[in-house]
Subunit: 371 residues, 3 copies
Amino acid sequence: KDVKVATLEKSNGWSFEPFGRLMIDAGSVDAPDVINDPGLGFANEVRRARIGVKGDIPGGFDYKIELEFADNEVEITDATLGYDAGAAKLTVGQHNNFQSLEELTSSRFTSFMERAAFTDAFGFQRRVGVSAEFNPGTLLVQGGVFTDNIDNLSASNNSWGADGRVVFAPKLANTQLHLGGSVHWRDFNDGQSSVRYRQRPQVHFTDTRFVDTRSIAATGEFGYGLEFAAINGPFHATGETYWQKASRTAGAADPTFFGGYAEVGYFLTGGDSRTYKGGKFDRIKPKNPVGNGGFGAVQVVARYDYLDLNDAGITGGMQNTYGLSLVWTPTDYTRFMLNYLHNEYDDAAIAAGLTRSYNVDTFGVRAQLDF
Amino acid sequence: KDVKVATLEKSNGWSFEPFGRLMIDAGSVDAPDVINDPGLGFANEVRRARIGVKGDIPGGFDYKIELEFADNEVEITDATLGYDAGAAKLTVGQHNNFQSLEELTSSRFTSFMERAAFTDAFGFQRRVGVSAEFNPGTLLVQGGVFTDNIDNLSASNNSWGADGRVVFAPKLANTQLHLGGSVHWRDFNDGQSSVRYRQRPQVHFTDTRFVDTRSIAATGEFGYGLEFAAINGPFHATGETYWQKASRTAGAADPTFFGGYAEVGYFLTGGDSRTYKGGKFDRIKPKNPVGNGGFGAVQVVARYDYLDLNDAGITGGMQNTYGLSLVWTPTDYTRFMLNYLHNEYDDAAIAAGLTRSYNVDTFGVRAQLDF
Amino acid sequence: KDVKVATLEKSNGWSFEPFGRLMIDAGSVDAPDVINDPGLGFANEVRRARIGVKGDIPGGFDYKIELEFADNEVEITDATLGYDAGAAKLTVGQHNNFQSLEELTSSRFTSFMERAAFTDAFGFQRRVGVSAEFNPGTLLVQGGVFTDNIDNLSASNNSWGADGRVVFAPKLANTQLHLGGSVHWRDFNDGQSSVRYRQRPQVHFTDTRFVDTRSIAATGEFGYGLEFAAINGPFHATGETYWQKASRTAGAADPTFFGGYAEVGYFLTGGDSRTYKGGKFDRIKPKNPVGNGGFGAVQVVARYDYLDLNDAGITGGMQNTYGLSLVWTPTDYTRFMLNYLHNEYDDAAIAAGLTRSYNVDTFGVRAQLDF
């Protein structure tokens, strides 16, 4: 178990653990001068401010409630009741559907300030549902049925869907491998009558999206993705592909949009490595942290990210991003990031004068802690 | 003291206890096909997601702040400063007025997913005020003056009211008896200029109300109720009646509406019983909980519930409900419920074609935990 | 360290301390009868209901997240990541700018229910930024650059400013002295295009402001203030002055508004005194608290408060307030206040018939606890 903020524990099996995270971002978005948009230029925000409680209840049960307070609003991220039945784990409540390695990896542990473009673009989010997870050794099987995010649940919403994911994660000599695949299906019913796929230029403090399908009348969606990762000492490589198909109303062709990324990273500080647990990346624990005479862990990461929102007559645009991330991890629970991203657009949703092919450079810094 | 999540305590009298509850509901509302309403059919919701803190402060004081986060909004349920003066207890802040045994019993311990129809219909809610409670032995006397719910407090609101309740709760041989009565009076002043009494069909995940007085111009309200309960081993019986009178503006006759219920329950599992404390029902603690080789407690409960919103020329409708509840309590702090309710309406607020007399069947399941 | 609610601590340097405050207010606003305003007369409110967590992270870091839940909304007050570098302390996140002794003193420890009129009038608030604090002995130097309050941060907001404060706080024989000065500068950029300075009549449960500049087109603001305080046994005296200048758009003269106060207080109970720490007033700890056979600390405080919002052709009005406060502190963490305030207006923003010179009397009581 992690050496972290103390947990209240009772001998009868009760535990109570408070936890939280804080991420403060600043940076800039530089687009062609001809584009006049209030979301360009400098901006800053409290990206995430979360507090939660979790713990065990005697009898094999556990609970988790996590709340997001950024933007001076409150949002329930996780609210679950779980039951641990040996190799299987059952969960009821709002929790992550089983889509994408990067989506499932905590935002505290991703290599860039924002996740791969396709994850937000395709609307991955937590939903209320029931799921089961089986984890016998190197194989991980996850599946569930879900209705909708708490924010969208109303008396008239009867959307529902099913999600599944399989991961094979063998350890070969000194290399931790991760091979995965996931499937996502949703029937909107009365819950929604359209989809809209769009994405920011890899930083969240702007609300300007240069790729955007705009509203597409649809009755459901179907997605599937492949996941790869490898960790070997200071090196890691990871990549994913994801296809998202919208089921349009009668007569119209169904578009399939696509996104993916490939990333490599290296620690400049000796003895440091990314960690992996339960089918996702885990916490970086610097070998020589600040406070113990060390400088923490310093990692450089390069990424190519691609998102194609053009298909079947819909022109949402294409985004090619080349990114560099400098990740400084002074201690296990603090982190500072510096991100530079070069975004190349074709068929962009926002015109730059007469052209829709242009570049946008974004720059971001983050101060982060969790407890 | 309950064996629960650990409490931080200091020898000087300070304590800090985090607590919370999570209830996840799903189910359906089946009305005559001729009624076309988005609130019918399947629905689900996070019914309650609450986190709070409470504790003692040296010198005889105590505090409690509880927050409700369901619907991705925040609402203060309780926010109180208390003082313990021996047999008397003083409380300042937002807390429950002293109306109805079922209203005062925690939602974690009621026999059905929703409380008796009259409690919500007549607008029982927590309000900001000052109250005193005397509890010398089997007699309990409670009273207070209250302004309004925090949500409705504004610079122009000067509504206020007084509430009182008396309970006599002797233990006769093996039977815990409860006999109670409460009185409620409110002058709306500038805080509100009308009342509206209405109710859902015994499940909360729909917003459709088949009984509804609609807005009645009023200057105040006056209510009074009677309470009965008896617990003997695996058996319990309970029932209440409540009369609510709205003071209409000059000239119009004042209507008195009525609600009540009668309930009986029985545990199928040996050795289990409902518990009672401080003038209300308390936690079910299964004799053979899950995790200790047992199956927990299984209880069946039957209820008849009645609500009459017709009087003095106002036709809000009548609701007769026959309900069955299966309550599975695997451990002290987890609970699963299955509810079936048959609602019969007369003079319903929603017409079914040419008639306002018809039946609505509702079905609900709940997963629940608290800590 | 204070004897307070227990803190979770680990030997490796981690700590986790929950904290909170609750203030419940009631009272009345009495203005000339000719003024017809819903904010006059009786009102009550939950003034503050806050819960937060703070602690240390191994490696010299610390964290703090505090949330305000009054009005059934949530607002982040503090959200910071700090680093302790010996005599210097670095802070990133939303925190108090360095304006005014009374603004920086916790609302739990001020002598009146509301702070000096100029603090709210001139818009002092927490903002997201980076700051440093040096505290070598009796000298305290604080400075930072800030963007805006989380509530106002958006992709298009690029307001920013700088704040600095110097305090000299020697202890002369039995007298704790405080001499301070602060400077505040802000460039609104795209974040706002006007300022509005206004103030309530020294109680918060009304939203009626008798002084109000109304919207003034402006590009920035510049403020500076002086601070004085002295504590000697049961006596204390304190006072401040503050000048706020708005930079109007081209052509218009820049108005400079002014506010200030002078206050004296005396404890009727023997052995009690105000306390002082880190450049601001701290907690009153009664020598003979309730619960130990004592009655707590009783203090009377008198204050003159002045706010002048007339300058350079703008007539926001002048407010002269004479206030009396009775502060009963039964124990270290509970407090009850009784405030009477006589406000004299000239050029008031609200006319009373034909005149804008009249008096408003306000009365308030508060029940308070913190943990």
